[in-house]
Amino acid sequence: MAAGSMTMDVERRPEPEPRRKLVPDGVIGMVTFIFTELMFFSGLISAHTVVRSQVESQMWPPFGQPRLPVEETAVNTTALLVSGVVLLLAWFAFKREPQRAKIPLLISIGLGAFFVLFQGAEWVALLGEGLTMTSSTYGAFFYLIIGAHGLHALGALIALTWAFVRLDKGRLTSSELATIAAFWYFVVLVWPVLYWRVYL
């Protein structure tokens, strides 16, 4: 028997079913990005903690520097936290029926916008009182840490607005919403830590 004509009867097995994705690609990418951002904010907070501990009189804010608006920012913090909770409700609503998520998503965006605008108004008042990036280490840390968070909040708000437009057109996928929501949760959850370390 020639080798070329040798055939084998192989029983064809059914193709294995493709395994479902554990986590959407966008969420994996966003989680990796959030890890790097967490380390970035941790570095800033650590530097702030060390500099604060070096103040001779242990008086914070240092002498001659304006006091940060602790009470007003507490209200703003509440708005941001509520925005996170409402976004979670939007996620559950989206799972049931996508169009039901429109109102909670809009409320979440509104509360986030309130937070960013309030921060802007706070900055204008503080600049008026003489607190600038170059006025002291206290001012430099305040604008660097809170400013970095504000930029993240602004970016996340733009992404949430984009998600709302897609939802309105009926094109938003659950993977897209999960990715953007992960970023907003990061912005929401990192804020109380920043408030505690910088304001209190």
């Binding site: 479902r20 890890f35 501990s53 070096q54």
Partner: protein, 99 residues
């Protein structure tokens, strides 16, 4: 029997000889290390608040990435089990309906 060494292969003695210079340099570096340790910001500040802040932030920054990676690993493991359970349930339902 001849006892000739092959020129292309370095002898053991020559290999050890080559290690002596780096070992001496490493010994010098070890002798000088205590001086370098004094440059550590935690060591020279006598103020307790500052020392504690350095130690706390060093521990925090060391533990955070490890806990993030561990957390991500646990989350993926849990998600994998959930997906396995979902797929098994769907397979059972399909088989049941085919019968």
């Amino acid at each position: 029997m001849t006892n000739k060494t092959i020129p292309a292969v370095p002898s053991t003695r020559r290999g050890i000889g080559r290690l002596i210079a780096p070992a001496v340099l490493a010994l010098f570096a070890l002798v000088l290390l205590p001086d370098l340790a004094h440059a550590c910001p935690v060591c020279f500040d006598a103020r307790d608040e500052n020392r504690q802040a350095f130690i706390a932030t060093a521990v925090f920054l060391s533990v955070l990435p490890l806990s993030l990676v561990a957390g991500a690993g646990l989350w993926i493991r849990r998600r994998s089990r959930e997906v396995d359970a979902e797929e098994a349930r769907e397979r059972e339902e399909r088989e049941h309906s085919e019968r």
